[in-house]
Amino acid sequence: MRPYFEHMDEFGKELKAGRIKRAAESLAKLRETEAAIDSEKKKVEEVGFPTEKINARGWMTVWQRLEYLVDEGSWRPLHTLYNPLDNAEGTTNVIDGLAKIEGRWAVVIGFDNKFMAGAWLPGQSENILRVTDLAMRLNIPLVWLVNCSGAKLPEQEKFYANRRGAGTPFFRHAELEQAGVPVLAGIYGTNPAGGGYQSISPTILLAHKDANIAVGGVGIVSGMAPRGGFDAEMLEEIIAKTKEFTGRPPGNVETHYDHTGFFSHVYEEETGVLDGIKEYMKGIPAYAPEFFRVAEPAAPKFPAEDVYSLLPFNQKEVYDFDQILARLVDGSEHMEFRPDYGPEMYTGLCKIDGMLVGCIGNRQGFLGKGYPEYGDYPGIGGKLYRQGLIKMNEFVTLCGRDRVPMIWFQDTTGIDVGDTAERAELLGLGQSLIYSIQQTEVALMLVVLRKGSAAAHYVLGGPTANRHNAFTLGTAATEIAVMHGETAAVATYARRAVKEKDAGRPLEPIIEKMNELAQRYRDTSDPLYCAQHGFVDEIVNLSDLRSYLQAFAGAVYQNPKSVCPRHQLILPRIIKG
């Protein structure tokens, strides 16, 4: 199959001076938004005690542990701004992402020991479940840096219980282990109760000498039976008891190394724990990348920075998707699937670090006279029509058959609507695409380049493809909502406006409400909101997109559960004809 993949069709062209000039304002807005997002991420990094204070206590921060643990330049953070329950701290108090350790990809997650000694916070379990899903999807190890003081007690009602509450990750760890996905844990500090189960549920436990893990902590061991309330006398008693208590926290290394043997190893130095994880990672099953490479890795022919001049910040401005893709894939080469059919969608085979991926993206702009073929109206990119939906169904099915992971690029306003579109079966074809994705066993990732709207956000490999979607990225131009805010305002208030008008009442209150709703949509669909609420797993600078594509391809091909021999691939043969 070398002749198929060594030199695929080149695509893309150099940016013209006119394009660069026209895009200057848009580029500035993209950069400004990226800077604002970066500033929010910085706040999350700095939450809690300063690094110096943690270091003065003889500890490393979670960030320092991560830096020591992961291969240089391989850290791809996810969920940095994820904060679905709007914690004042701006974080769920875990840090996670994809990274290489000793040359092997892993999902890495750690408690931020700078804030409340790594406590459970509202929204954290949802964050952890996303992370365990990711490890399961990519079939790569989950590496924990445990340092967890247990629940933030004053807010326990928000996360302790429920189907996806703070206990659910322990079931997920068991699920991962039963699926053959190891969970490695480096354990630091005091880990009572929830922290204890965070520590005991992984596969291999590597502890620092001062670590302890326990069913319950000092507070519970020395606690008092409830008496229906507190008074001054009782508080004096509590103060006295607390002062008297000098015992060490339960479950230290003497207990769990010498007696129970739960800890596989205990290390004198904090870095020793991380070295231990590195040693275990060397033994993790992983194919050499060459096993699945169909060609030598190659950088795109055009600079990544071009994307800032190609993707308009203005949501109404159209652009050439193929030009963006040419800045992301190896050698700016591809094999396009059915280029003469379904012009609103790009579908094609590309390479990332020499490994085959299927790319799918919305093309933008006027689709040409006579399209869609079933309607007497012009077709516009970003919308989905009959041919594009059929083409994607075919492409996805073939990628599944050939075990080719998929990378989706979304910028969609929705599926064509109206009775003509209904007669063209678009409702059924959209759901067929969901069916097609669901019946595959390959991982996908999604980049919401700009708009994710209506049902098209679901069908185009959206995050709702739970079992398949490894992660979703957003950009500075991302906007995700059921529809545009002004469209929603019209849909909500048009009939009422007619009634008010007919009744001779003033229209200003309606206008005010319409503007309020439109603004609310703007506020709840922008990149920051999308990241905080998990609509995307990370907002990524446009110049960094390829690095995430590389992480995805490297991780998904590291230890796949199912393979298709390259000489038995059918999709490239169909494309070649």
């Binding site: 394009r19 109404k316 702009g365 006027f366 040409g368 006279k369």
Partner: protein, 71 residues
């Protein structure tokens, strides 16, 4: 030889990106038409010089209307 720049679809002229006398290359943006809630560029069909512009910002245009001429 003169070549006409045509509107590909009905809409309103959102932006006139050139002036008479401007040199353009094939695929340079010469107009932006607002249609279907999007801003859709109209590109030069050939290299040349803009000799005539027949529309102004805000004008409604129909499919195949002549927007400009390139010599």
């Amino acid at each position: 030889m003169a070549q006409e720049v045509l509107a590909a679809l009905s809409g309103n002229i959102w932006k006139v990106s050139v002036e008479v006398g401007d040199k353009v290359e094939e695929d340079d943006e010469v107009f932006v038409v607002e249609a279907l809630k999007m801003e859709i560029p109209v590109y030069a069909p050939c290299d040349g010089t803009i000799s005539e512009i027949k529309v102004k910002k805000g004008d409604a245009v129909e499919e195949d209307d002549v927007l400009a001429v390139i010599d």
